[in-house]
Symmetry: D4
Subunit: 240 residues, 8 copies
């Protein structure tokens, strides 16, 4: 029997090395749909080119594999994020993003958002378990939440946290639905539809369980707010 398909060299991925030029930040690596070999190959190749790497939806086995090669690996067990190298040191983090979760079960996805926003250079505060079923818990933390330039509202089930928050603050809210729940939650669909349908303005929504996307978008907005860039973005790039 002749085997093919698993011994190919590095022709399964094209590193988007000019992404930073176009969008201001390097690529991150979504690890879930890839074989361990593919994900490790991409991460190692990027790091060898000097690019700090954020991997998301990463299994512990992948982190262990990468740690054999580089010592600077950080792996977050709950959030399943992996970083190799530092794009922005804690001291350089700017502004403030509040990541607010409805329940304990949303914590893994929330941490994915936290780690993403920190990696790309934002300060983040995490406020957990303040869902609307006990709304005084939210009011107790409101003054902290209002200090942020951007808010990420993380909730499964009915996802009501995003709408309630948006009616209480002046910052934009990034709604992050999670697949927490069962039955009519339909894997996060109820939270997603609720967040999209909310009558409170000032909300925009990312994919179910997409902590990375929420953290990335919040970082973009936070950076707009906290720096008066001396060179505006449209004068820095000539791409594509």
């Amino acid at each position: 029997m002749n085997l093919t398909g698993d011994t190919e060299a590095f022709d399964f991925a094209v590193i988007d090395s000019r992404r930073s030029e176009r969008t201001g930040y390097p690529e991150a690596v979504y690890c879930a749909g890839k074989t361990l070999e593919q994900a490790a190959g991409i991460i190692i190749r990027m790091r060898e080119q000097g690019i700090p790497v954020l991997g998301t939806k990463a299994e512990p086995a992948l982190a262990r594999r990468i740690a054999l090669r580089f010592s600077e690996v950080e792996y977050d067990v709950l959030g399943r994020t992996l970083t190799v190298g530092t794009l922005c040191s804690p001291a350089e983090q700017q502004g403030l993003i509040a990541v607010v979760t409805a329940g304990t079960s949303d914590l893994g996805i929330a941490r994915e958002a936290v780690r993403t926003a920190e990696f790309f250079g934002s300060k983040v505060t995490l406020i957990t378990d303040v869902g609307v079923a006990g709304i005084h818990r939210l009011f107790n933390r409101l003054s902290d939440i209002r200090k942020a330039q951007v808010i990420i509202a993380v909730a499964g089930m009915e996802g009501a946290l995003a709408g309630v928050l948006a009616g209480l603050v002046s910052a934009p809210v990034i709604a992050l639905p999670t697949s927490v729940g069962y039955g009519a939650s339909f894997g996060g669909l109820s939270a997603l539809l609720g967040m999209l349908s909310s009558c409170a303005p000032g909300i925009s929504v990312v994919n179910i369980d997409n902590g990375f996307g929420a953290g990335y978008q919040a970082n973009l907005i936070n950076k707009l707010a906290c720096s008066q860039a001396s060179v505006p973005p449209w004068e820095q790039h000539q791409t594509p």
Copy 2:
């Protein structure tokens, strides 16, 4: 051409005349799926047998048709309810049900619930436009809401009102999703799924736009609460 099918006598409906014995209340008439002739025929037949009638989802033309025959017709334009005769006078109404709406657009369905509960003998208070996007409006009315034995929470879009309310009160909440909204509201689906998925206990849900069902169920519960029936229900009936 020979026509059939529209001149049949009264063989299109069977009045459930023993429903009161079994369930404590007479049948109501859901008018939406019936021809004007069928709906009018059933209502008139019931009223002639002395049964007070509640018609729901009734068009004005039906009300006008019935008003040609009976003088005691009441028609609610927004709620599209029709009553012919009185099961329970305002003075006999008992207990208290709070019908609470998220927005102005929910008012028609809310009034269907109000009129249903009143028809079957409950006192009702209607509190409108206190949705979660401006949650202080809800807190302003909370002391009134807490006076009720049962609460009906009426909301479209993300339907978050039910979950927030259930975390603030000790009374059972009947969640009534409405088809208010567009896009990802999918005709009330987002509100329905959100209400079903709510992490706050003390909620049960009726069909989208089913003001009648919410009002009926709330009346059953309210009656349990407000009277110590001398003859318990299980000794009154021998059916079927």
Copy 3:
């Protein structure tokens, strides 16, 4: 490799210690979406504060973990409920709730409802396997069912039990759809939609497999019926 995310102290949950004040009952713990460490941490913390705890969707491993710490653990294998401590002794249980199941396969979810209602202080009778495919089995038990103040109808597949029951009794029916079935049952969707669409009034519905929600709501209603509370609920709380 540096690990984060699993060694955090108790910042993953906020115990809603004033829930009893607002709603009359303490929080329960939904264990399914949490790590074993999180669920155990919350339960132990609550119990240490003197709060009797009900955990739902709990795995045996969690029960064993809690039993290492407290001797008073009760675990229901079929219903996957866990209790630590007693809110209300059997002697103090009041009123009557009938939990009625369509089939043997619905028994696990039904027991979750039974244990919840008992925990919060209701008497419960469980009547099993009386689904509509052999409707005489239901009629045989009807006089027992009619003794209850509230009825929980537990059914998967087409969920017809709720509508049939509601046409036969004067008590409110809480419909509890289960994910029993296959193919066009779509994980409980057929039962859920059927129960929501039922033309029989007097039904409200909880989430698929939400035995806890049904038991909690039935307990609220049952309590309304069986006690003339000397101090009405709206005079007991000043929250939030």
Copy 4:
């Protein structure tokens, strides 16, 4: 401007003139998706070839158009069926099919089934408004229903009638879901899923609002049965 597309001769349809040979019965004409010209053209062409025609989902305008050409047109206003000519006279109708409806709103679709089965040569009895919300109405008619060789159960909303009936009779049940209902009925989906998911055996299901399909299938089965059983099924059982 040059117009095309509406003046084509008879190349838009191919009459399946050998259908009777293969399946025992001639084609029927589904009129809903066709222009008035197309539907009329097909019906007239078939009738001119001597084939008795059944048209379904036919608008009154079509019936009037056909009546200009043939005198023998019968049009059923509620069921929207149209017949031109007779395949089988009332005297030749055999066996017995019971068409049983849950509510008045299901009557139009039920009549489509009745007219179809009669057209193809079955005797039919129509029993209306015996839905499960008032189940004694069904028991009152059970001895009549049990006389049939085949039963068509017509219901919208939760569609529970089919499952209840199948548990009470020995004849096969054809379940015919209707689009009666609103909200979570989703245009007949709740009835369809419920009927498919029913735990009672002896049910098979046709498309939502497909009165024609139910009537046709019931006629096929009825004809199989009507040859000569010496002891008719309704004299064999006395249950329940």
Copy 5:
């Protein structure tokens, strides 16, 4: 730790011992949603009462458990059916049902239908892998298929076999969609919707993967037919 819920006596099921009287046949046992203890308990109890038992969706472990108690167990590995005792010996089987499958992957579900129909007393012929992608394979077997009184068409994916067959035969077709396929097959949904939407009359449909339901319904119809038609249907037509 106190355990409850798994040591209950036989209160989890109510054997419908009068089902034969009402419907002509004893109950079958759907094993999939039950614990091994529950399924075994029900089967043993029924067999002890002298009732021959058909179990469906049964795992091999259940068969082995039952075989410890009764020697007469038959277990079909592909179809996952289990029989204990005989309702009708092979010699007593009557009429003819053709079970026709589109592909090899549909064979398990098809065998569930075969075993069910045989158990209840029908002769069955199984014709496999004649799906519409190679339609001559179907024509090669058509004369065999036309000998049957009833036809079960088993297909996943697009489910086209049912509609094609129904246009070629005079017998009623029971369409049995299977969950064979992937992607847009959505677990059998594409086959189910296609079979329901078929423009060919003479089809009724059972639930996805419901071999039992198809076999049961086909047996009911076959029994109606098998008395004694002097000219069998397969000698009446020569088409196409």
Copy 6:
């Protein structure tokens, strides 16, 4: 009151004038989502630049408006296509595409495909009403169908025509689902899913009712087959 929004000059559309260079053919105009003013504006602008125009999903009023300006308008009533000018005369049409419809109701969408393919330069033969419910009608036309280089199979309801055809021919089949049908057809969903799930290879599918897309794709393929292009496509363009 100040009105805005309907008097803007031509800034609502950007004509893709280099589309021919890149893809070989000019843009067509999808008229359905546009106001009459927008659609007419775009068509007139394109024609004034000398581009022959095909408009799809066009209402008669639009055709009349365009006919006021240009004399060369052709409008197809059933297919709702509009052409202004000629890209390719009938004499220049090449190869052969067979457009095959399941039923008369599919004819409008089929004609949209026919007119599109002809406009872009293919010969087309239209074969109607040969759906699988009477499959001999298809066999009667098979020799004609086999003359085509590409086949478009147009069907609503269960959409089985595509799979049956693909098993009988060597040409690629473009499956074109239509929204013909009701109930479980769900606006063409059943045909779409069936065509996508077909086990016969050699099928690819376009959007529901997308006659234009099917005709365009078939023309591309047909052209590949019928000409040995002296200048290969990749040497003709330097875009973008």
Copy 7:
């Protein structure tokens, strides 16, 4: 006949007069689900209190009604927005938002977004008809798009514009799916799911056709970017 329900005074709405304090901007009025009387009543009441009003999804009849009372009404025919009074004069508009549409049919929803963002004080540039089917049109406008602080990508059908844009710019992208399209577009669902699933980071999504929500969110973000607020938002409010 006694009519109720349409003569109520102003108890159908509660103006959220402290919204500006909490969120920085006054309420807007969603007109679609309200009767003309309700919408007009709310708008007039707000304007009388001195609040500049933005109404969305407003019919021309509503605009005409309001224009009878106030002279300062602006109505956008395509975008169906209505303004009464000015929150922010054109000279005061700050920053820059680019609203980019895929096609002409998306223009109405795009204009709703434009008018909303302008009303709340942002400068806006509208770039139309640059969808991905002719991607050079997008590149031609890229330098203009890159000048914006925030980008709104408006697209129906497959909604690919958002993902392509997000890979080319450093500004956050608000994706606004529209219901443009037919068949498998399912009323905007395909665009919505595509935008949510995009692998390009830097996107967040609002409801289908929610031009208001996109414009509002973009304005919030744009304002963060263009001003260094001397008093930070968390020091301005003490609510609720």
Copy 8:
């Protein structure tokens, strides 16, 4: 215990040995829904008849089983394809198909398409990881892509690659959606709907993850383009 169902001889499959005559190519074997015994039995039987075999969705265990019997087995680990024997040697492969993937995670399905097209005789070039989030990667490979006669666009998530490509090339595009993604990707549904809804013409779509179907269809089209068949296909066959 008597076991049945797994020892049947070769009656579970009918090899379509005349498929080559009708469609030009032999059957392939879809292995996923079959037991290992069934799949192996069919493959071995076909190979023994001299037919070269392509198996898809094949597990390694099946490949190992076949390799025990035949030495000429090739198994592709990523694409899960298995070939036994050669229909067309590499030297005989004609024309050119470009298989273009959006991301690394799409590679397995892409390889299924590559291997299928090669097996049936086409030359294929595979171009990976050029999704629209970094669109310059696509432009870098455009000249290679334009050399192909047919293009397969493989993408999960939003599936935008197909529409962008179709606007840039003159070759027909076969869109192949994959189940790569999570949340709102719903197992490939977002990519499928997006590809079907694309406004770019020149696209047709196959089932989610159906690499075989895409490769087969592309091969059919490629062969049309690259050979002037001396004997046209409609003169070679007389079937069925």
